[in-house]
Every structure is written in C-alpha cells, then in structure tokens.
Symmetry: none
Subunit: 134 residues, 4 copies
C-alpha cells in the first residue's frame, strides 16, 4: 500500500495515514473484509516508525473502520455504519466556519468553496454506498 505522506505538513503522520486509508476505503480501493498490511510491513514501505503506523491503526479501529483479529491481522470492517456523533458534527461545523473565515482572507468566495466541495465529492462519489446512508 502506497500512501502520500508529507513529513513537513502540520498534520501528524499518523493522522495522514488515517486520512488516506479512509479515503482508499471510500474510493473502494480497499474493500470491506480486505486485509491491511501489517504494522511492520506498512512502516517498512512508508519508511516511518512502526509506532506511527500502530497509532494510526488504533485510531482507525477506535472509529470502527478497521478490525484486528488476533493472530490473523487487520481488516477493513465488513460494514461501516456512519454514526452521527453529535459532538463530531459540532466540531465539523466549527471547522467549516473557520474554513469560511480563512477563505475570506485569502480572497476565496463562497461559490469557489462550494465548487471545490462538489469536486472532491465527485472524486469519491458513486461507489461509497456502503458508508453513506441515503
């Protein structure tokens, strides 16, 4: 598995790993029940510390996105049910608010933002039915 990691980014590497695995699942490149590379293997190919991969896997498991079967390995969960966690939604709203503010100061208007949202949605879209509940 190849991920695009930027060690200079502000987002911690383990979080980048989480993000990109979530993306691979949405794009159905990783499908339910698929086996993930072992911590050691992934840390080897990504040239990062095993602890970092481990932390990423733990976070993904906490979110119910992957599951560890002892002695067998780590797998994408068979069914990922979106849970409308009140608190997380509040956080997301807050994040969007900040996004709009930052965009303002960069001279980016609402229309452009909406356009980008649509663009990225389409990139993922179509086959992420097992996650979306509509």
């Amino acid at each position: 598995m190849i991920l695009n990691l930027d060690p200079r980014s502000n987002t911690p590497i383990w979080e980048q790993v989480v993000h990109q695995i979530k993306e691979l699942i949405l794009k159905e490149i990783l499908q339910p029940e698929d086996k993930l590379p072992s911590v050691r293997e992934l840390s080897g190919t990504l040239l990062i510390n095993p602890n970092t991969v481990s932390k990423a896997y733990q976070e993904l498991e906490r979110q119910g996105i992957i599951e560890t079967l002892r002695g067998k390995g780590t797998f994408v969960s068979a069914s990922i049910t979106p849970r409308a966690d009140e608190q997380k939604i509040a956080e997301m709203k807050q994040q969007i608010k900040q996004l709009v503010i930052d965009a303002s100061y960069l001279g980016i208007d609402q229309q452009t933002l909406t356009l980008w949202i649509k663009k990225f949605s389409d990139e993922l879209g179509g086959h992420n039915d097992h996650v979306k509940n509509d």
Copy 2:
C-alpha cells in the same frame, strides 16, 4: 473584548484568539483603525498569560491584519488586502478534501456541507467589503 476560548481544544489558545479576532473583523464588530485591547488588558479579561495574547497579536500582524504602533497600542489595519497565497490555497484545498472525507463517515452529504458553507458565509457576509475583492 470577550472571546470564547476552550483550553482543552487541540488548537492552541493563541490560535483561537487569532481566529476569533479575524471573525470579529469580518463581522465588522472590529473596524479598520479600531484599537485592540492592550496585551495586558486582554490577557486579564481572558484569564490567560500576556505572552499568549502577544503571540496571537504578532501572528495577526504578520498576516497584515493588525498593526502595532510602538508605545501606542495595537490597531486593526486600515486596509486588509486578501493575498491569494498559492501555498495556503493548496492547503485549503487539502483541508476541504479531508472535510468531505470526514463528512462521508459521519453520514453528512455534499448538499448539507454546501448548505453550512452558505450559512456561515451569510453570517459573515454583506459587510465584509473591505476584505473581499469581488
């Protein structure tokens, strides 16, 4: 000046101060040439250390949003010109991509996101002419 700070948040306090002052300016609660509270005063009302406020002010100054007149105090810049920093725009796109992914896992669809963007834009909108260039 009253700001809403959450010491348990992941975003550092100085950054929360930066964010909220930028918001106050967009909402024109703080207007160009207005004097900001002194470092000591604000640190007093917010119950945080003066150095923390100072760091926030310095960051805002570096962004060209406020100006400090030595011995006199700190003021909102007369004209805030949005600069379309290539790198920051790239970061913002990346952030939006991540937002869309996270939203997916929370069961939030594109339409809802767009709606929220519009909502927050409207909250700020109308009177932020000195920042937006359209």
Copy 3:
C-alpha cells in the same frame, strides 16, 4: 520643518527624526547656524509627542550635530567634524555584513547593492563638503 515619519516602521520615531535631520543637513537644506524649530513647535507640526522630539534633539546634540543655546533655541552646529569613532565604524561594518547577507537571501547581488550606494551618495552629494574631510 516637514519630516516623513512612519509610525509603523521598526525604527523608533525619535530615531527617524534624527536620521532625517541629519539628511537635511547633508543636503544643505539645513545650514550651519540655522535655527531648528522648538521642541513644542516641531512636535506640533509632526503630530508626535514632545518627549519624542526632545529625545531626538538630545541625540543630535550628543553627536555634536546641533547645539542648544539656553533661552535662544537650538541651532545646527557651525562646524561638524566627522569623527572616525572606532567603535561606530566597527558597528557599521557589522551592519554592512548583515546587509550583504540579507541581500543574498532576497536575490540581490553585489552589483545592485553598489549601484544603490552610488545612487544615494549622489542624491546627497556635491554640497556636503562641510562634513566630509576629503
């Protein structure tokens, strides 16, 4: 007397005043024995604090460039003798070194720097004989 002061600059206002009066003298706009405006008058026209003007005058007097006659006012010194203060020359060298370094990082080469030096020298030049000793 009109001076060009920038309250946002990093250089303190009193220092800007010192600089510009020295410049006016080099350009012979202010000539030896000329009377300078009083502290009160200058602080009035420049819209700055009298203490600030006072500090500038004190510094100029310390440098032997102006003289105060009690009850009569402040005057440009009759003869300004350049003193090759070892320490100040060392400081100047240090300053030039830093200038060359900073220029490097701005992509400005030695030739351009030299050109600018010449330009500013010419702007002052020709009639600053009462200061230069060659």
Copy 4:
C-alpha cells in the same frame, strides 16, 4: 554549533541567532538537509533559554530557510529560493540610504563603502549557489 552572541547588543538574541545561522548557510558550513542542533542542545551551548532558540528557529522556518520535522528535529531546507519580496527590498533600500548618511558623518566615503560591500560579498561568495539565482 558556536555562535557569537552579544547580550548587550540592541538586536535581540533570537535575531542574532537568525543572522548567524543564515551566514553559516551562505558559507556552506551548514549545508542543505543538514540537521541543526536541537533547541535544548543549542540553548545549552549558547547558555541562553530554550525559548529564545525556539523563537529563532521559528523565524528561520517562516523565512523558508529551515524546516522542522515533528519529533525528528530541525533541518536546513533542501532548496532555498530567494524571493524578491517587494516590501523587504524597499526596506533594504531605506536601510542603505541611512547607511550612506551615517557613513558621511563618520567620514566614510562611497568608495570605502563599496569596497566593504565587495569584501563581505567575497567572504560569503563563490559557494552560495543554492541561494543566489544568477
């Protein structure tokens, strides 16, 4: 790493650190990708507070000269691109003007200034190709 710090200088210590590291890089004593001493280590050898070193490093990073990899340390940027910041160039011109004026009062003529510029340029020169773009 040994730096020459003067606690009595007007220029703040953190800025002296910034200056001297920039100089070391120009002289290629510090080369691209080289690891800088850790904040704690440098603060130890320089006998200054870690926060002061930290501030210097942060400033250097903001200038794109060094990069920090979280948990790993701080490194000289692989490629340092000189950016001709309009405002900074204007400041530099202003600084040069002031330099010429001060030189006049010290009895230093244009020729000497030019000579010094050349001298310092040569001291740095020859191997600063990764910064200069000519």
